[in-house]
Each structure stands twice: as structure tokens, then as C-alpha cells.
Amino acid sequence: MMLTLLDELLLFSGATLLVALFIGRGLAAGWMVTILYGGQLLALLKMAVLGYEGGTIASSLTLEVMGQALSWRFDALSWFFALITIGSALLSSWFSCGAWERSYIRQGGNIWLFHTAMALNVFTMLILLASGDLLSLFIGWELVSWAGFLLMALAGGVAARAAMRYITYAMAGGMAIFGGLALIYTASGSLQLEAVTTAVEQMSGAKLWLLVILFGGGFGVKMGLMPFHLWQAPAYAETPGPGSAFLGAISSRMGLFAILLVLVKLFGIVKIESLKVPFTLIDARDLLAWIAVFTIILPTFTAMKQNDARHLLAWHGIGQGGYMLLGVVVADAMGGAGGLLHVFNHATYQAALFMAVTAVIYRTGTSDLNKLGGLVVRMPLSFVVLLIGIIGLAGLPPMNGFVSKWLVYRSLLNQGMPLLFLAAVIGTLGTILSVYKLIHNIFLGQLRVEHEHVSEAPWSMMIPMLILSAIIFITGLMPGIPLEWIASVLQTVGLPVPDYTLGGVESSSGSLDMIWVIGVLFAGFGVGALVFYSAGRSKRVHQLDNYAGGHFLSADVRYQYSDNFYAGLMHLIGGWYRGSFLWLERGITSLVEFLSLGMQGLYRRANAEFYLLTTALFVIAWVVI
């Protein structure tokens, strides 16, 4: 049997898993696994033709089970997501090697399980990305869900509870997809990808709606779309450091992949647009777009209230997912490109941010935003990484997040969607607010006495962070590099392709050239610096030499503002949170609990059997007569 390139990649990935599984306890295991991830990346790059020109590469492995044919293949879409997956796995794994690993073991963590779970996640994700029919898609989907569960539950305690919550949500989503799968199978008698298109053409409006809801909901759970977003933040945040970087970067994007594959490529946006929401003026596409913007706004503002750096970032991860979906469902050239570019960009800065926070935890032992401060003088490189990351996250120039958000905005503007546009901008503003809180409370302000002797994170952690920072900046400067891959992805899923250049996008209605923008920005900084440094030399003073209305500051007085950071804002909108959809989850939980109690009562009552028997007889009598 000839091995195709895809087979090589999957074998490599499987080998990584086996290495992690069997020699994961060895000290060099981390490095070995990292090198193998590098090998996977090389195997993926051998398929680079997919990313640049499109086409498909099939796996030579096919199966036939119970009359269902299973096959696997890669196209530009898979390749793009696989690139992000393996890239983030490589860097996260690199980050975990050496210093972090040792401290993790010292704290009683199981590093073998960690490496295994990471390798398993990558492997299952690749299988999902390679799925060539709906059944293999579902199989990959479930595998990814459970692999994710393993990684999330690693830390035990709070993490395990969060993972439990995740798996309940994921199962619900999985079952929705399962149901949708069955409907498609019924309609078209096949589970090949083309069958979806056939099924969709045959289906009536109501059934199609059901299908869209089942698939949208099922995939949406993984993406953390409203109102299924509650599981994500605690689950990602409580995962051990590099794991959360990896999960935050790519895991929930698998949902977007599936949405792109099924809803966009196979259903077609046109079909979705033709589904009207009854009694309203909007259609299913608008509905998805609105879900997307609420997914942007609410988690972002929830993030603002977090007091733990990891939770804050994880909540943003949910919110940023909304931009991706928004861009994709707007589905014009710029929107599609923006949504997909944001997948790439988000992976880079989210991984960098989680790594920076992990570095801080590694040195200080806490990620509590109220217990940190002033670390910039002790961990300047981590500060720079975090700064670059938050600029990307907030979508400000000159980092890459700006480009993707710009594209999404432009598409909304071109399509004339003012409310969505407004909502997207509100999300961005909220992001700016909360990321400032993040960087301020960790790195700025007064250095605490107990952190006087903290030093910069070790190089084994620093290098992956710096690489990511460089990627964030370079792709911000030259977004044409990822846009080239995205162009083939857009072609693959049948969306229009924007007219891109190395520095941005050309368009008759206003274009963007990041090389120029960043050029003048840095020139501006240069001029500013010239003005600034031409004046007298400044003198550093101690942080306690500070205006306090004439008060004498001493080290034991905590002269720092970190708690209830946006007090004025919360004064107005604090009351609007109201548990942020927790009521929904609690309501469902209580309902299940209540029903469960009733059902147990049914079985456990002293003479329940007789009641039941009479009910049964009654039912029989009713049916017979």
C-alpha cells in the first residue's frame, strides 16, 4: 500500500501519541514529543500545496462498517486548521519542556498524562480535520471531545468539575449532531459529504430548520456560542498552563471548522439565508450573526469581571470566537477572509497570552489579578509578550488581530449591517477595557514586596513566547502571508476571495495596507521619541516616591488599584449581568434534578409497583379499546 502524505502525517501524529504514552515518564519525553510535533509540522508543510493551490489529498485508509464507508482526506480547509493545530501544539509543548515540566512534577502533576493528553488531542483533531464523510466527521468530533475532556480534567479538583461540565455540554452537542446526522441519512441514504447537499435540496423548510439548529447548536457548543458558552472559560482556564494555551488557541475552533464544512460548504450560505425565522424579518443567517455578536459581547464583558488572569483570557477566547463566526456568516469576500484570518490570529495571540500568564504563575505562584502588580521590572520580556498579545487581542494596530477585525468590520459595512457592526465594536471596546485590566494588574502598578526577588521566566518558556510574538507582529505587518492560505480555504468552501496584497486588502471602497500603516505608526513613534528624548535626561525614582496627597508611603501599604477595576462602569451595568445565562444552566439542572427526584420517587415509593401496574393496565385498556 502506498502511503500518501496524509497517511504520513497521521502516522507521525500517532507515533507522537505512542511515544508520549510509553516513554512519557522519562525526563526527555517532553523534548522528544516536541521534536515529533516538529516532524508533524514538516509532514504538514510537505502538503503545503493544499494551502497555496487547493485540491485534496486522500488517505489510503478506508473502512466499511455496517454498510457505511469511512474515508479521510485533507483539503485547504483542513490544512489551514491543521497548521494552526500543530503549530500551537508544537509551541505549547516546547513551552512545557524543561522548567515548567519540572515545576509541574514538583507540584504533584502527572506529566506523562499531560503529554499523552496533548498528543491525543492533536491526533484526534487531525483525524477530525481529515474527515472525508459525515460519519468520520462525527467520529472525529467525539474523539476530540473526549480527548479535550482528558486534558481539561488533568488538574483535578476545580478543573475536573469544569471538565465534567464541559463533557455534559459536549455530549449534548454531540447528540444534536448525531440527530442531525440521522436526519441527513434518512433524507439521502448516505453519509458522504455530497449527501448533505442532496438532502438539503430535498428537505422542506421545517426540517431544514431543524437540521440547521441541530448542527449549528451541536457545533456551537464546542465553539462556545451563546448560550452554550458557560462551560468553556473554567474548563480552559483550569487546564495546566501550556495545555490551556493549546486549548485556547485551537480547541474550540474545531467547532468553526465543522460549521465551515457543514453549514457553509455543504449547506451553502444561500440556503441558510433562505430560511426565514417565523414572525420576524430575519433569516437563519441573521440569526447566526446575532448569536455571533452576542457571543462577542456577553463573554467579553464577563471577562472584564474576572479576577483570575486565566479565566479572563479564557472568557475572551469565547468572545473572539464570535468574530470568526460573524465574519464567516456575513460570507462576503472580506468577511470570510476576516473570520478565517481571525482563527489564525486568535490562535497566535491567545497562545502567547496564556503562556505569558503561565510564566507569571510559574514565577509568582498565582494568577490572581489582585495579588500581582508591578512585575514589569522583574519580567520585562514576559511583559512584552503579554503586551503584544493584548494588542492583538484587542485588535489594535500594529498587531495581527487588527487586520482580521478590520476585515470583519469592512464586510459588515459593505453589507450594510449597522447593528451588527456596532455590536462588534462594542465587543472590541470591552476587550480593550479588560485587557488593560489584565496587563495593569499583573505588570503595572506597584511591585509587591513578596515579588521583589522574582526574575524573568526561563528561556525554555521564553523562546516559544517570543516566537509567537514575532508571528503576531509579522502577520500583522504582512497579513498577505496567511491571506494566501485563506484564499484557497475560501475557494474550497465556496466563498468569494478578496483581492489581497502582501500588506493587506485592495478594494475599491477603501483598502488597507498594513505595511504603510505600521510604517507611519513607527515613524510617528520615532518622531515622538525624538521630541521626548531631546528633553532633559530623566531620573528613575522608587515606586514609593509617589504622589499620595502628602501621605508617606511605605512598603507595607499596598498602593495599588486592582479590585473592582471598572467601578464606574459596573455601577451602571453591574446589574445587567444577572448570572450571564447561568439561570439557563441552573434551570436545566434543576429541572433534571426535579424530574430525577420524581422518577426515583416512582421507583422507591412503598407500593409504587401497584400504582405502576394499574397505570399499565389502564394504558393497555386505552390502547385496546
Binding site: 473502512l63 466499511e64 462498517v65 455496517m66 454498510g67 460519519l135 462525527f138 467520529i139 467525539e142 474523539l143 473526549w146 475532556f149 480534567a153 483535578g156 479538583g157 475536573a160 468539575r161 471538565a163 465534567m164 463533557i167 455534559t168 455530549m171 449534548a172 447528540m175 444534536a176 448525531f178 440527530g179 446526522l181 440521522a182 436526519l183 441519512y185 434518512t186 433534571v592 434534578e593 424530574l595 430525577s596 427526584l597 420524581g598 422518577m599 426515583q600 416512582l602 421507583y603 422507591r604 409504587a608 409497583e609 405502576l612 401496574l613 397505570t615 399499565a616 393496565l617 394504558v619 393497555i620 390502547v623 385496546v624 379499546i625
Partner: protein
């Protein structure tokens, strides 16, 4: 060959009565005779299977040809279950030897004999007799622990079962008064004219409720949590794993051969849905391993009932797959529960003490909720594709309930898994954490290996099951096999 097949019922029956006597003379013989009988039974069936068993065959007993005489009907489905009975009888054999266990061993043999009879019998009244025989053996085994709770539970089970047998008898009487025969093949011929009316439906429903007591059918399954909580784990495993499936097999045969009316299917569907809802939800709140498994088993059987209710035998493959899957998984889980019975909270941190047990638990749970490469997924997949193909809203409701129940199932099973892997409370001594060990762990590992083997060999296993299902679905084949006269052939 036919005599051999009779032997697999007759030998355990004989053994059951002789064992107490043998015990008096020689402990060693008594110790090994039971397993020897079961191994022989397994060998007979395996031999039959391997020697190119393709066509079903009918074995007349006592020289009278059906429909007058009593016959055994042996097709691959029956043979599969008969084999499972013998094998599981061996697996769950109470291996200690004293006066008390002698009684248990002979009751076990009795149970095996009756169960094999249930699997093979081709006559309605014979089924009833074997059914009652199995019930008596079950009562004996269930009350064997001797605690007050076991007695009360057994009595309640007995009364429920008694009502069931009254109803079954009533149904049989109705059928007989209508047709004058109790041979299944004969009934299958007569049914379209004589039994597809409200009288026949009443008879079927009476039998359904009656047999349903054993099959954990929704309204008559209140005995389940009590019996599983008080009886020995091995018995529970046998009851949940096998006996319920045999009762199910009877209902399935009746449904396929005789009562293929839509109303019958509808009732089964409704009861199945209710069973799923009640079982899974009740399990969600269970605080104790065995009871959780008991409730979960009710839910699982509800799913099988839903599959059974599919019209025109479409659910046959699903029923078969789900039954076998549940048989393996539940037996394995009950084996783990042998050491892990009791409050779930006590299991906190058990994974450290017994890693293999924890891994097996997770494996079984994953398969039960249907994680893809494991066999449970394929079983569920077969079911839902068939369910979704139905146009009637009730089936779609069944589909929705089935999917939601799976979510609930995952939730409570993995709560236990999380407890297993959690860190024990501060004041717990390591000796206090229950560990899985010895024979039960070995047995559970066997089941675990089985699950993995099936997962790896899913393609051939699926084909095999499809063949079995196709054979079981063929009513004409059944009729011609039992009474060749109809088609003019001769035996």
C-alpha cells in the same frame, strides 16, 4: 446433533437436582460438576456453530412433530443467546464451596437451564414454564444473602412476578382459545387471520406486561433497584445482563412472528420511552453504585424497547446490537461494582488504588454513552438512523429522548469517573478506599478485552450481526423450519 442440543438444557437441570446429593458424597465432584456441565454446554454450541451452522433447525422433543409436539427452535439468534447463557453462567459461577453455596450452585444451574430453555424454546407454554422456572431460581438466589432487606425485596419481586405470570397465563389462555395452538410457528401461520384483532392485542399486551417484569419494562420494573441493591453482584449481573435480554427475546419473537401490529409496536415504543426517561433520570440522582447501575439498566432496556418498536423488524439489528452491547457492558460494570458497591462518595480516589478497575470503568462508560470507535457507538448509530427514518412523530420523540438520555447518562457515569480520579478526602485512610481485586476484576477485564476486541473487529462483527438479524427476521424461514409440511418439505 439434536440430542446434543437437548442436553444443554437437560444437563444443567439434572445437575441442579443432583448437586446437593453429590455434595454429600464428594465435595470435589460437586465442585467441578457444575462448571463441567456449563463448559460442555458451551462446547456443544461452539461445535455446532463451527461445524458450518447456516440454516436454522427445529428439534422436536419426545418424538411428536410440531405443532402437536413441543419443539426447540435453533437459529443463530437463539444459539447466540444460549451460548451467552452458558458462558455467563460459567463466568458468574459462585465458586466457593460450602453447604450454603451448594444451594446457590444448584439454583444457578437451574437458572442456566431455564434461561437456555427460554432462548431455544419454540412453544409458548414451554416458554412460560421456563420463565417460571427461571423466576423461582432467581427468587432463591436473590434471597440467598439472608438479610431482611433481601427477603422483603425478593417478596416484592415475587409478587410482581406473580402478577406477571397471571397476566401471561391469561394472555396464553386468550391465544389458545382463539387459535387452539401454542406452537410459535403454527401461531405465526394463523396469526394474520385470527390474532390481529383486539383480542389478540389484549393477549399480547398481557404477555408483554407479564414477561416485561423480567425484561425491566417500564411500569413493572420497580423490583430492579431493590433486588440489585440486595442480591449478590454476580446475580445482579446475570439478571441485568442476560435474563432481561432473554425476556426481551421472547417479546421480540412474539412481536416478529405473531403480533406485528402497529398498535403493539406503539405500546412498546411508549413504554420504552418512559423506561428511558425514568431509568436514566433516576440514575442521575443515585448516590450508590449498584442502584445507579440498576436504574441505568432500566434506561438501557428502554432504549432496546424503542428499537424493538420499529415497524417491520427494522430495529432488529439495533435490538441485537444494543442487547449484546448492554450484556457485555453491564456485566462488566456489575463486576466492578462487586468491590465498588456502596456509596459513590466512598470511591473518591479509588483510581490510585486500583488503576485497572478505574480504566475499565471509564472504558465501559465510554462505550455505554457511545463514544465512536467503541461498539456502543455503532449500536446507537444503527438505532438512530432507523429511528430518524420514521415519519411518525412518536418515533422522532423517541429519537429525541434517546439522545437526551445519552447526555444524562454521560453526565452521571462521568461523575463517577471524576470521583474515582479525584483526590480522597483528607481524613480518609488509604485502607478505607475500596479496591477492585481478584476474580471480579479479572472477569471485568475479560469483558473489557471483549469490548476492545469488538471495537477493533467492528466490521466483521457488524456483518455477522446483520446476518443473524436477517435470519431472525425471516418469518417464513421459521415456519418452514418448524413445520416443513406447509411448504411440502420433509425432515
Amino acid at each position: 446433533m439434536s440430542t446434543n442440543l437437548v442436553l444443554i438444557i437437560a444437563l444443567p437441570l439434572l445437575g441442579a437436582f443432583l448437586l446437593p446429593v453429590l455434595m454429600r458424597s464428594s465435595m470435589a465432584i460437586a465442585l467441578w460438576s457444575g462448571p463441567a456441565i456449563l463448559i460442555y454446554g458451551c462446547w456443544i454450541i461452539a461445535d455446532l456453530w463451527l461445524s458450518g451452522f447456516a440454516q436454522p433447525l427445529s428439534v422436536a422433543i419426545g418424538g411428536f412433530a410440531p405443532p402437536l409436539g413441543i419443539n426447540l427452535y435453533v437459529d443463530s439468534l437463539a444459539l447466540l443467546f444460549a451460548f451467552a447463557v452458558q458462558l455467563l453462567g460459567l463466568v458468574f459461577w459462585p465458586f466457593t464451596l460450602d453447604q450454603e453455596s451448594a444451594r446457590r450452585q444448584s439454583l444457578m444451574l437451574l437458572l442456566v437451564a431455564a434461561s437456555t430453555g427460554l432462548a431455544l424454546s419454540g412453544d409458548l407454554f414451554n416458554l412460560y414454564v421456563f420463565y417460571e422456572l427461571a423466576a423461582v431460581a432467581t427468587f432463591g438466589l436473590a434471597s440467598a444473602s439472608g438479610s431482611g432487606a433481601a427477603y422483603v425485596a425478593t417478596l416484592r419481586y415475587l409478587i410482581l412476578s406473580g402478577i406477571g405470570s397471571v397476566l401471561t397465563l391469561f394472555g396464553i389462555a386468550l391465544i389458545y382459545s382463539q387459535t387452539g395452538t401454542l406452537n410459535l410457528a403454527h401461531l405465526a401461520q394463523l396469526a394474520p387471520e385470527q390474532l390481529h384483532n383486539s383480542l389478540g392485542l389484549t393477549a399480547f399486551l398481557a404477555i408483554l406486561i407479564g414477561i416485561g417484569v423480567k425484561a425491566e419494562l417500564f411500569p413493572v420494573n420497580t423490583w430492579v433497584p431493590e433486588i440489585y441493591a440486595t442480591a449478590s453482584t454476580r446475580l445482579s449481573a446475570f439478571l441485568a445482563g442476560l435474563l432481561s435480554k432473554l425476556a426481551l427475546l421472547i417479546i421480540l419473537r412474539l412481536l416478529l412472528l405473531i403480533f406485528h401490529q402497529p398498535e403493539a409496536a406503539q405500546v412498546i415504543l411508549i413504554l420504552g420511552i418512559l423506561g428511558v426517561i425514568s431509568g436514566e433520570l433516576a440514575a442521575w440522582r443515585a448516590r450508590e453504585m449498584k442502584r445507579m447501575l440498576a436504574f441505568s439498566s432500566i434506561g438501557q432496556l428502554g432504549m432496546i424497547f424503542i428499537a424493538m418498536a420499529l415497524p417491520d423488524g427494522k430495529g432488529m439489528l439495533a435490538v441485537l446490537a444494543l442487547s449484546l452491547h448492554h450484556l457485555i457492558i453491564k456485566s462488566g460494570l456489575f463486576m466492578l461494582a462487586e468491590d465498588w458497591g456502596g456509596a459513590l462518595e466512598r470511591l473518591r480516589g479509588s483510581a490510585k488504588a486500583s488503576p485497572l478497575g478505574a480504566v475499565l470503568f471509564v472504558l465501559f462508560s465510554l462505550s455505554l454513552v457511545g463514544m465512536p470507535p467503541l461498539p456502543g457507538f455503532w449500536a446507537k448509530f444503527v438505532l438512530i438512523t432507523e429511528l430518524a427514518a420514521q415519519v411518525e412523530p412518536l418515533y422522532l420523540l423517541g429519537l429525541a429522548v434517546f439522545l437526551l438520555a445519552t447526555v444524562v447518562e454521560a453526565s452521571y457515569l462521568f461523575r463517577v469517573a471524576a470521583t474515582l480520579y479525584g483526590s480522597p478526602a483528607q481524613d480518609t485512610l488509604s485502607e478505607e478506599i475500596p479496591k477492585t481485586k481478584g476474580l471480579s476484576l479479572l472477569t471485568a477485564s475479560l469483558f473489557g478485552a471483549g469490548v476492545i476486541a469488538v471495537a477493533l473487529l467492528i466490521a466483521p462483527v457488524g456483518d455477522g450481526l446483520q446476518a443473524i438479524a436477517a435470519q431472525a427476521l425471516d418469518v417464513d424461514l421459521y415456519i418452514t423450519t418448524v413445520s416443513p409440511a406447509v411448504s411440502g418439505g420433509s425432515q
